[in-house]
């Protein structure tokens, strides 16, 4: 392995990380696969934290008038639970798969901006740590995951909790935004020869649309958060009623972000399912181009429905109906996807692997969640179910039944590629059934509770309201879910050590990632593949399907390139992120530290731009 040296100016003479294994190699890595794995484990840790918070809430709600957890702690729990699950568990877990698999799926050696990619990860990790450090620094926010002012302002929330919440979200938000740019450019510009847009695997499409949603929606929540932060820290009057403010400005800003956000969560999940169903029914995805189009439509319409969260703020019947109708429209493209998935299954030869079962679980549960969503969109009856457990039921169905099931499917499906070992199928199936049963036990009763009139975000309820039975069932279900998560975790951890070594193509796959060894070598493809078909590998395996276009010989059979130049590690992404992280504490405790942090970040940026490329030459088939 050689290092390319360029002329040495001051910045270029800065030390470059050399380590290729061990701690420093991970800290300085810019390899999309390693970053993907970092995202993976970090988000699993945050998921467990969010899950424990959920279990605590469920324990408190198991029976009426319980006092296991007091009101203030309960409010903090649901705030942190939601924030953790959405921003620190589910989104980064999808990012983990973006990172690891997008370059593989489009036949590239890395993402467009490897250093930015590392930066995204550090912002996520440090933002998450910042947010959660509030547990030890006076307690986290208790203002709910949308943090409406004026409850979130100093007057009603005097501690630092809300500040930690806002700044933590801003920090992770920077990382998310940056990865949004990165993946759009990667998918548009880094495709292997022949990989036209209409040959992109569905997961790449949903990743791209998701990234667009990020690019256009995150700036809006950034503004919303900054405005309340200014009120809290600097005494501006933006949400001061007595200064003449209108609190609904924040409502709108938040939900202009908030609704696209829910599709940011579910679209990648839909992409994963669209990869898995064809493989295990041995058929191409049904209606590919319509799927692409409806993904874009969902993303687009998703920007025009935010006020369905605000039917009861008093916007008047005209606005309410406009948003109700716009919301309903979304059911059409989503339905198209649902039917196309079933069309994919229909006539296939369906193998019930663990991954497939989770993907099928997605279909069934997302269906329920989506249908309850449409029920919510009817503005007049929304006034009854709004902010009840019916909503809680709805969104857990779409976010767990939808997103989480699909992500666990991806763990079983892509895990062998990432870690080089097969997961245990039997444990996988046990995990599936316990999760499926536990999930429905936890969240279906919530739909009923909403109809019985139980509002959300209450730490306790009186006996005799008719809530007891359903809450008890729900709590038991949550415990079963916890058990299932532990089983899956056990499966993952033991398989990593003792699992059967994974072959390159364990599932009879269809796409490019299965043409290369598991786990994937540093350079991904020994030779950049030439793509002639949507299901490239499938067509290579079944040349009679090639519809005239002759599939090129498998890349692996060609002679590999003898020298591949890969980007080497860098300290700068971490340095810039650390500057912002430490500076953020300064903002809350001691302003000079804030300015110091900003200065460090700026210097890091300059170093980043000028340090040069630290390129390394890798020789496939060599001693490496």
């Amino acid at each position: 392995m050689a290092t390319i040296t360029v002329e040495r100016s001051f910045w270029q003479a800065l030390p470059k990380p050399k380590a290729e294994s061990g701690f420093w190699s991970w800290v300085t890595t810019v390899d999309h696969k390693r970053i993907g794995i970092l995202y993976f484990w970090t988000s699993i840790v945050f998921f467990l934290i969010g899950g424990v918070e959920a279990l605590l809430m469920r324990l408190q709600l198991a029976g009426p008038n319980q006092t296991i957890i007091g009101p203030d702690l309960f409010n903090q729990l649901f705030t942190m639970h939601a924030t953790t699950m959405i921003f620190l568990a589910i989104m980064p877990l999808t990012a983990s798969f973006f990172n690891y698999f997008i370059p593989l799926l489009i036949g590239a050696r890395d993402v467009a901006f490897p250093k930015l990619n590392a930066f995204s990860y550090w912002m996520f990790l440090l933002g998450g740590i910042f947010l959660n450090s509030s547990w030890f620094l006076g307690g986290p926010s208790d203002a709910g995951w949308f943090g409406y002012p004026n409850y979130s302002l100093k007057e009603y929330n005097p501690g630092l909790g809300v500040d930690f919440w806002i700044i933590g979200l801003l920090l992770t938000g920077i990382g998310t935004l940056v990865s949004g740019f990165n993946f759009i450019v990667t998918i548009l510009n880094m495709r292997a020869p022949g990989m036209s847009l209409m040959r992109l695997p569905m997961f790449a499409w949903t990743t791209m649309v998701t990234s667009f949603l990020i690019v256009f929606s995150f700036p809006v929540i950034t503004v919303a958060l900054l405005l309340s932060l200014f009120d809290r820290l600097f005494g501006t009057l933006l949400f001061d009623i007595f200064a003449g403010s209108d609190l609904t400005v924040y409502h709108h800003l938040f939900w202009v972000f908030g609704h696209p956000e829910v599709y940011i969560i579910v679209l990648p999940a839909m992409g994963i399912v669209s990869e898995i169903l064809p493989v295990f029914s041995r058929k191409p995805l049904f209606g590919y181009s319509v799927m692409v189009f409806s993904t874009m439509l969902i993303g687009f319409v998703g920007f025009g429905v935010w006020s369905h969260h605000l039917f009861t703020v008093g916007m008047g019947p005209v606005v309410n109906t406009v948003f109700a109708l716009a919301t309903m429209i979304i059911a059409v493209p989503t339905g198209i996807k649902m039917f196309n998935w079933i069309g994919t299954l229909y006539g296939g030869r369906i193998r019930f692997t663990a991954a497939m079962m989770y993907a099928l679980g997605f279909l069934a549960l997302f269906l329920i969640g989506g249908l309850t969503g449409v029920m919510l969109s009817a503005a007049p009856s929304n006034a009854q179910i709004h902010h009840t457990y019916f909503v809680v039921g709805h969104f857990h169905y779409v976010m767990i039944g939808g997103a989480l099931f699909s992500l666990i499917a991806a763990i079983h499906y892509w895990g062998p590629k990432m870690f080089g070992r097969m997961l245990d199928e039997r444990l996988g199936k046990i995990g599936f059934w316990t999760l499926f049963v536990g999930f429905n036990m936890t969240f279906f009763p919530m739909n009923i509770l909403g109809v019985l009139g139980m509002p959300r975000r209450i730490y306790t309820y009186a006996a005799g309201m008719g809530f007891e039975t359903w809450n008890a069932i729900s709590t038991v279900g949550a415990l079963i879910m916890g058990l299932s998560i532990l089983i899956t975790l056990y499966n993952l951890l033991t398989s990593l050590r003792r699992g059967e070594p994974a072959p390159a193509d364990p599932w009879d796959g269809r796409t490019l990632e299965w043409t290369i060894p598991s786990p994937v070598p540093e350079y991904n493809f020994a030779r950049i593949p030439h793509v002639s078909s949507r299901d490239e590998l499938w067509v290579r395996k079944h040349p009679q399907l090639a519809h005239g276009a002759v599939a090129e010989t498998a890349a692996a059979e060609e002679a590999p390139e003898e020298a591949i130049v890969m980007p080497g590690g860098s300290y700068m992404p971490l340095l810039v992120a650390l500057g912002l992280f430490v500076g953020s504490y300064g903002l809350l405790y001691y302003m000079p530290v804030f300015w110091g942090g900003i200065a460090v970040s700026l210097l890091g940026l300059v170093g980043w731009a000028l340090e040069g490329d630290n390129l390394r030459i890798v020789r496939p088939g060599g001693s490496h």
């Binding site: 548009l188 256009f216 809006v220 209108d246 609904t248 400005v249 709108h252 800003l253 202009v256 920007f303 006020s307 916007m315 606005v319």
Partner: protein, 93 residues
């Protein structure tokens, strides 16, 4: 590097654009003091600033000469931003 066959604006072109930006700014300020314009003033001002916006975007930012994709991204972002901004303003006010 941009494709060689693409027309590149010359220094003269840029100076011309700069000149028009100057003229438009003067017009904007002048418009405020012309009583006759009062009824349509808002429209005139918005119109003039849209022109300035377009000049900068098309020439200084090269959208006129560059890949359509850039224009697409920018236009999409701008249109979305304006639509949502208008909608929120109308709903609240």
């Amino acid at each position: 590097m941009e494709k060689a066959h693409q027309v590149q604006p010359t220094t003269r072109d840029y100076l011309k654009v700069g000149f028009w930006l100057f003229v438009l700014t003067v017009l904007e300020v002048a418009a405020i003091y012309i009583e006759a314009l009062r009824p349509a003033l808002a429209a005139v001002l918005v119109g003039l600033s849209v022109l300035k916006f377009l000049l900068v975007a098309m020439f200084f930012m090269h959208l006129k000469y560059d890949s359509r994709i850039y224009t697409g991204f920018f236009a999409f972002g701008m249109i979305l931003a304006v639509l949502i901004g208008l909608a929120v303003t109308v709903i609240i006010l």
